[in-house]
């Protein structure tokens, strides 16, 4: 891996990785802007974890290249720890292997583990181990932090604290590459998103752009027949619920609703099916 002098924190080109007959990565290109939170989305088996492993240098790609500006830290899947050592000793061990590590106490405070740091990890919950995993990434003082399902095992309060921590880290200039199944989490945290399906990038861009993709809404009006005729180029179809199914971007939907009002068609109900990001993801991933 070489350093980049530009605004990109991570640049991967043409990454390919195959395990036997199974293609995990099939020519993946990825660009992560410095100082942003970049969400990595995709269904199970899409190649997300393999991609993260390649970025962390744990897996050697069969083809392609990766460039990371500075150091990279973090974890993939469930972070491991030495059960016979305390949390503090686990972190101190990892810190001893780095040239300019962060302060163990400060990192423990940051992830909310300072109170339990002197107990052995053996009895820790999954949520605490997740936080220790984040701490293990942070102790390296990385330029790029890779987090794979970081909210796994965290209770709602812990998940909220994690989101605030990631926001804080990004605010401090750290680049975060976040892989998550939780679209609400990605929606709340990510600036950019890459969607992987079957080892290929099917979409990449900002979350705003992703939200701008056509989504599905159920529309109920005072005159559905007229509403359908007024749709123009919009995809408006009768739905089994008795409403109209409208596929449109947010901007298109706004224009359509205003047009209906102008033509005297009252909008009685308008329900978007899930989060815009969720809709877009499902469209891309299925």
């Amino acid at each position: 891996m070489a350093s980049l002098a530009s605004v990109e924190a991570v640049t991967a080109r043409g990454l390919r990785k195959q395990y036997g007959e199974q293609v995990a990565l099939d020519g993946v290109d990825l660009t992560v802007r410095r100082g942003t939170v970049h969400g990595l989305l995709g269904p199970n088996g899409a190649g997300k974890t393999t991609l993260l492993r390649v970025l962390l240098g744990l897996v050697r790609p069969d083809a392609g290249s990766v460039e990371v500006a500075g150091t990279v830290g973090g974890f993939v899947e469930t972070p491991g720890a030495y059960p016979y050592l305390t949390g503090r000793q686990n972190l101190a061990h990892l810190a001893a292997l780095d040239d300019e590590p962060g302060d163990v106490e400060e990192v423990l405070q940051r992830v909310g583990l300072a109170d339990r740091a002197d107990t052995r990890v053996r009895g820790w919950s999954l949520g605490m181990r997740q936080r220790l995993g984040i701490a293990a990434g942070l102790i390296r003082r990385p330029d790029v932090l890779v987090l794979d399902e970081p909210a796994n095992g965290l209770d709602p309060v812990g998940a909220l604290a994690l989101r605030s921590l990631v926001h804080e880290l990004a605010h401090d200039g750290l680049t975060v590459l976040l892989c998550s199944h939780d679209l609400h989490e990605v929606d709340a945290l990510a600036d950019d998103v890459t969607v992987l399906v079957a080892g290929r990038v099917v979409w990449g861009g900002t979350t705003t752009e992703l939200r701008g993709r056509p989504g599905a809404s159920l529309l109920s009006t005072s005159d559905d027949a007229l509403a359908q005729r007024l749709a123009g180029e919009l995809d408006v179809q009768p739905h089994q619920s008795g409403s109209l199914l409208v596929r449109a971007t947010t901007a298109e939907l706004d224009g359509y609703v205003l047009e209906l009002a102008r033509r005297g068609v009252a909008v009685r109900e308008l329900v978007r099916e899930g989060l815009p990001l969720e809709q877009a993801f499902l469209e891309l991933a299925t």
Binding site: G57, E77, P79, Y82, L85, L97, A136
Partner: protein, 265 residues
């Protein structure tokens, strides 16, 4: 070698390694206690008939026993866990995303995996000597050639005899490292060397290998017998050291390559 101190701390923090130190420290005293109260002597073992007449006989009896059964187990117990333990705990990703190269990590672990078994051997050697002296005093020892060895010379020869077990012990450590790295299983890494040691002992006993049995890793454990006699001979010692070195190289080169090239999942 920045990886070494923590590899040592990790090993010493594990209960089975601590238990091994306790056993190496106390087991010789327990054996001495049993011998002091029972009527019979372990006459079938070298120096067995002298354990109540010279304090330097017991450590040599225990050395014979350890060479057969204990040293391969010690090697597996420590070195077999050092690498596969990272797989078991899922800690390879955290360990290999640090500022150290895989080669450095391998070296630190290897040195730790060798130092701790040697420390266990040293503990067993000293506690055996202490237990022997406590049992039978610092009386002269009758050597294998029939001569009498004074207390000072006998003590030195006892410690040197234990020291001759270090090369094959390290050979078994290398074997444990290979099994541990390749299998990624602590069970294979820990039990493998002991089982292979047993197979080698059986092959030696059957005698079907002829002079080829000299290439077995268990054979160098017998080299100490050339030392405890008036007309000492060192051929088996050098041969054992070369055999141990051969095994170590044959195990460590592929183990290192596997670790350097493997995908960590």
């Amino acid at each position: 070698m920045r990886t070494l101190p923590w590899e040592l701390r990790k090993l010493v923090a594990q209960s089975r390694v601590r238990a091994a130190f306790v056993v190496c420290l106390l087991a010789p005293a327990a054996v001495a206690l049993v011998l002091s109260v029972q009527s019979g002597l372990p006459k079938d073992t070298l120096f067995g008939r002298h354990v109540l007449t010279s304090g330097f006989a017991l450590p040599l009896v225990l050395l014979s026993f350890c060479a057969l059964w204990v040293f391969p187990l010690l090697a597996g117990l420590v070195a077999g866990e050092v690498f596969a333990g990272e797989d078991a705990h899922g800690t390879w990703p955290a360990l290999l995303t640090r500022g150290r190269t895989r080669g450095e990590v391998f070296t630190g672990k290897l040195v730790a995996a060798c130092l701790v078994p040697v420390a266990l051997l040293a503990t067993a050697a000293l506690s055996s000597l202490a237990a022997g002296v406590a049992l039978a005093g610092r009386e002269p020892l009758v050597s294998l050639s029939g001569s009498t060895l004074g207390p000072g010379r006998a003590a030195v020869l006892v410690l040197l005899s234990w020291a001759t077990a270090v090369p094959p012990l390290l050979g078994f450590c290398a074997l444990a490292v290979l099994l541990s790295v390749v299998s990624r299983s602590t069970v294979v890494g820990v039990a493998g060397p002991a089982l292979l040691g047993l197979v080698m002992q059986l092959l030696s006993l059957l005698g079907s290998l002829g002079t080829s049995s000299n290439a077995l890793l268990t054979t160098p454990f017998l080299a100490w017998r050339g030392l405890v006699r008036e007309d000492a001979y060192y051929g088996p010692l050098w041969q054992g050291a070369l055999v141990s070195l051969g095994w170590a190289v044959a195990c460590l080169v592929p183990a290192r390559l596997v670790l350097l090239r493997r995908d960590v999942s």
